[in-house]
């Protein structure tokens, strides 16, 4: 299905490039027409596709659950309510299981993360070309060169998105660490263990790395898994351009990988949620 005139490498690159809006040193405020241009825009550029899908999916999640919350009844639940309740109960159970302190903020946080990440991952199951081709058609209608309209539909394959989420969790960790333990308590936790007061510098390095590694691992685990999965989908999609036999084989592969991916996207969402709960629990734990 690769567009004519594109090499396989070009096809893959095209699929892995975000729709970037930013200030280019030469072109001013514009969409990046290549990876190099996107790089030249520096930090103050934005991936419109990632932001759009992430916000859109977040709204879908919020809209559905708000609808349930508005019409909720403690009597016999309807279909949608049943579905929402099952998820809420599942998240509530997970929070109860791993979070020992008392904080009403953690369960909604876990629910948001679980469903939002799940939905963002779910975009991976859509055939890799559908939405990008639609975007190209729309872009062409507005007079853009379709080859330079980039569109990545899986927000969780964008490290900005996963790091954005992980940083959100990280700020919350820091906030509650300071709030519950106080600045001294938090510093003590970083400085006075595992080797006691004598080994303070070593402690600081060890605990500092442990602290920083939490959001980094959170973000990179999700990003890595989803990016790898997306890349395999793209590689499978390449087979469609290699004759009908390869195309057929590719179709079987895509189906198999998609079925396997259902497990992965759910698992990744669950891991992200569970680790968030665990990190929040650690932030609430006081060491004596």
């Amino acid at each position: 299905m690769a567009s004519e005139g594109l090499t396989s490498a070009g096809y893959i690159k095209h699929h892995l490039q975000n729709l970037t809006l930013g200030f280019h040193p030469e072109n001013g405020l514009s969409f990046a027409e290549s990876a190099e241009q996107a790089k030249e825009m520096g930090f103050w550029a934005i991936h419109l596709d990632s932001m759009f899908w992430s916000l859109f999916l977040g709204f879908v999640f919020y809209w559905v659950f708000r609808k349930v919350a508005k019409s909720i009844t403690s009597g016999v639940p309807g279909g949608l309510q049943n579905f929402a309740e099952a998820i809420v109960e599942f998240v509530d159970e997970s929070v109860r299981g791993s979070f020992t302190a008392k904080n009403d903020y953690v369960a909604p946080l876990a629910l948001t993360i679980f469903l939002w990440v799940f939905l963002m991952n779910f975009m991976d199951l859509l055939p890799v070309d559908w939405l990008p081709m639609l975007a190209q058609a729309i872009g062409a209608a507005f007079g853009a060169d379709p080859h330079h309209v980039y569109f990545k539909v899986v927000p969780s394959t964008d490290p900005n998105v996963t790091f954005g989420l992980a940083l959100g969790v990280f700020w919350l960790m820091l906030y509650y660490s300071f709030k519950i333990k106080g600045a001294g308590g938090f510093f003590g936790e970083l400085a006075f263990q595992p080797f006691g007061k004598v080994g303070m510098p070593v402690n600081l390095v060890l605990e500092g790395v442990a602290l920083i590694s939490k959001p980094v691992s959170l973000a990179l685990r999700l990003f890595g898994n989803m990016y790898a999965g997306e890349t395999i989908f793209i590689l499978i999609a390449l087979m469609y351009s290699a004759g009908w036999a390869m195309g057929l084989f590719g179709g079987v592969l895509q189906l198999g990988w998609a079925i396997f991916h259902i497990l992965i996207i759910t698992l990744q969402a669950f891991i992200f949620m569970t680790l968030t709960i665990v990190y929040m629990d650690m932030a609430h734990q006081e060491h004596h």
């Binding site: 550029a45 932001m51 708000r66 919350a69 954005g164 940083l167 959100g168």
Partner: protein, 156 residues
């Protein structure tokens, strides 16, 4: 693949969504769930209570039936006793009445006998006088011998 302002946008979106969920989604749903849990617990407790009450009611019912049976038996035996009494009373009354009738009949018979005797006596006397008159028609002056005849009548 560059790190850029998307990061910040995503972080802001994250906090906004979490805040909205915490404010408007989570509380009503979790409250409804807890409420339903309570309702179910109450229902189960009520069922338990109902079962216990049923057992108690059954016990009470058997007790009442037992009492009623005992009472009925008492009433029956009393009625039997009363029946026997009535029969006994009736018997004695009948015997007494019979006795009374018998004695009154006897008295009447006695009287009848007396009266018959009297009549017979008078008749015998008159027959004797008539016979005597006939025998001694001329010889005896009834006015002279009246005293003697009266004595004779009294003797008979």
């Amino acid at each position: 693949m560059n790190i850029n302002a998307t990061l910040i946008g995503q972080s802001i979106a994250f906090f906004v969504f979490v805040w909205f969920v915490m404010k408007y989604v989570w509380p009503p749903i979790i409250n409804a769930l807890n409420e339903r849990k309570e309702k179910i617990a109450e229902g189960l407790a009520a069922a338990d209570r109902g079962q216990k009450e049923q057992v108690l009611a059954q016990e009470r019912a058997t007790e009442v039936i037992k009492q009623a049976k005992a009472e009925a038996a008492g009433i029956i035996s009393q009625a039997e006793k009363r029946r026997n009494e009535i029969i006994e009373d009736a018997k004695t009354a009948a015997v007494e009445e019979g006795e009374r009738l018998k004695s009154s009949a006897q008295a009447e018979i006695e009287q009848e006998i007396q009266r018959a005797k009297e009549a017979l006596r008078v008749q015998v006397a008159s027959i004797a006088i008539a016979g005597a008159e006939r025998i001694v028609s001329k010889e005896i002056d009834s006015s002279v011998h009246e005293k003697t005849l009266d004595d004779l009548v009294a003797q008979i």
